[in-house]
Symmetry: none
Subunit: 218 residues, 4 copies
DNA sequence: TATGAATGAGCGTTCATTCAT
DNA sequence: AATGAATGAACGCTCATTCAT
């Protein structure tokens, strides 16, 4: 039995916590290694570079999420019954909730990673997401599409990102949002609540009838 | 007649463009002054510090937005007729659109500023928003509340932030999203389209019936 | 009648005060012009450079000191009676006291200037002292020599600098020394006291019999 | 066997040399690291900051000085015979001489450090001296007091600082003073000579009868 | 496997000075 | 006589990374 966790694990845990609080570029290797109580060079030794550590954090989060969704979706589809939009969203929320159990900051850092992947100069991370994980979630997205209001492909593309924005923003900042709501943090209880509250909102958003014309011609 | 714009303005414009593309901490003063074609020390001369420049950028965006919304809401309310949720959202979108005319990156940097304000260590910026601009938007939020589904205060708080997440995420990354949609950027046309597309989604999200119980007890 | 002093004078006064508190290199042009409530460029306009300002401060202090000593010494010598060492030192102290009336920091900045002149890279200032003021004080030094214990030239050279060290150190730091003595500053009263206290000490030091051999051969 | 000294030592030695010649604020980290032939960042790595380097230099000088004086005084006192003022001063001079062997600039930089500690804005350094070293020198000062002329506490306070001024000024600038004396520098021989020359002067100064009244009432 | 030492590049900031008005 | 704007140079410091052990 080990007295202290594996060095690489300690680093990842420290990194997740700091990434969640401060963001990636704002977190220094010195901070990470200080919190992890390991040598400064250990990050480069174990993960090659800071970006390598970010990727490792990414994997540790995306893998169980994809696993969960794939498995849950297959189980549900095997019943033969039609799957409702709310069921699909609850499936997603449960997947996120399972990720949140990795540690208390994992959801926030996860969402920050997704944010980061949309930044112009993060081609590598973006490519990593697209090639590694996009295919595994495709079936889930097709199900969503079927339950959403009828709309064209590009409309669905944007709706997905409106939804993604809600999820990312809320979970990235949920610690701060709880503070602003003037409630003290009580762990996963609130995360469940927040995730649950999103379901009807996202559901309504995806099912809202798309309008053809728009308001403003300048 | 001046051959080139005022130094301070050139700096702000360069900063907005770079902030929008890269974020604040990722943008260096050397990048800003190189793009603006001014001396490195000019930023400190005109804005005291990098943070001072961020604040200046912030003001230049928030002021016209608040002006627009206050004015438009007062005009609309003076008619005496009830204001629908879609009207309120269109009002917001038009306000954002007016900000987008400042320059092609202003909406993105604006949204990044809002994101930033929710970060733990940005108390100063957050306080700036809360004291300077929150009061000016209160009346608008009350109108939103009246048109939303009946719900408790904290439910409304979260709904607002779900909605805010959609707006912030989409507009922060709209350049990248357009790229992913495989369409080339054609200026404000797309922004209008995106803003318009949000209205029914946000409207449906705010009007969705809140559920009392939630799914998961661990 | 002028409502505010001449710009150049205001600058000198501000500079003296700041130089006395912080030293020369530690005092910035911005601090000086802020205290003087003049434009930043005014220093360069009136004094060509920061060094030019230092020289101006120097002149404003050395001129009256030399005047005082020359005049007092000539008056005293014209009586035909022999001049005692204590009289000479009191003459010096009164000269310093007269300088201290220029403003409350003038003695401290004066002493700091003398310190500075002994620094390796301050050849210009050192040359300025030597060519401008050394000749005017020569007669006074000769009188000191006559009243000191008999000793060789180089011994006298060092004794003078031991004495100079006492004066410079004490007056450079007299504000701080008063603080350490746990007494509050009450203006020129203390300076008089301190100057007076130095006389018997310096007198005894100059009159002490020089020893030929010294203690340590390694 | 190492071909070149330890990096930290090289830095300290370069720093001492430059500090002695130019002062602290006038010496840049780039100068230090250039002379030491080490990387610019090495100073921060080994000493955390420039101030940290100053503190390290300080410790390297004060420690052996205090050790020397404490040990020499205890030895001398254990003989049971009364200690004369000249003996005490010679003890001090030998202590300074032992410090001067650290390297050719160590006494000058030491004296500059003492000067610095009396500056208004150097509270930290001053506190460092007071808490770390003042207690270790207290016994020595009490012996000085016993051998000095009878006088009140505050008179003794000032006399000590007159004496300190002589020592600090002379040793801070002894290189320059030798130059002005038109003699070339020949290493520790001159330092011994200068230190020795101070003894009768300081001794006479401390033993001079204090006067009660003073000369000038304005 | 792990680490203390070291490094090149770059950071935000400040400096005394200059220049056009 | 005076000033707001601007500048080149340099500042102390921190960064992620590398390397010898």
């Amino acid at each position: 039995m080990k007295r202290r966790a594996d060095t690489a694990t300690r680093i990842i845990q420290a990194a997740e916590s700091l990434f969640a609080e401060q963001g990636f570029n704002e977190t220094t290797m010195r901070q990470i290694t200080a919190v992890a109580e390991v040598n400064l060079a250990a990050v480069n030794y174990h993960f090659r570079s800071k970006q390598g550590l970010v990727n490792a954090v990414c994997e540790r989060l995306m893998e169980p999420l994809c696993d969960y969704i794939e498995k849950a979706l297959d189980e549900r589809l095997s019943s033969g019954l039609a799957v409702s939009l709310d069921e699909l969203l609850e499936m997603l929320m449960r997947a996120l909730l399972s990720v949140s159990h990795i540690n208390s900051h994992s959801l926030a850092v996860f969402m920050r990673l997704l944010e980061l992947a949309y930044m112009k100069n993060q081609e590598e991370l973006r490519e990593f997401f697209i090639t590694q994980y996009a295919p595994r979630l495709e079936k889930y997205l097709q199900c969503l599409r079927l339950d959403a209001a009828p709309m064209e492909d590009n409309e669905f593309f944007w709706r997905l990102h409106f939804m993604l924005g809600s999820v990312i923003f809320t979970l990235s900042n949920y610690h701060m949002l709880l503070t602003l709501e003037k409630k003290s943090f009580q762990g996963n209880v609130e995360i469940e609540q927040i995730l649950h509250r999103m379901i009807p909102v996202l559901s309504a958003g995806l099912q809202a009838r798309a309008e053809k014309a728009y308001f403003c011609r300048l």
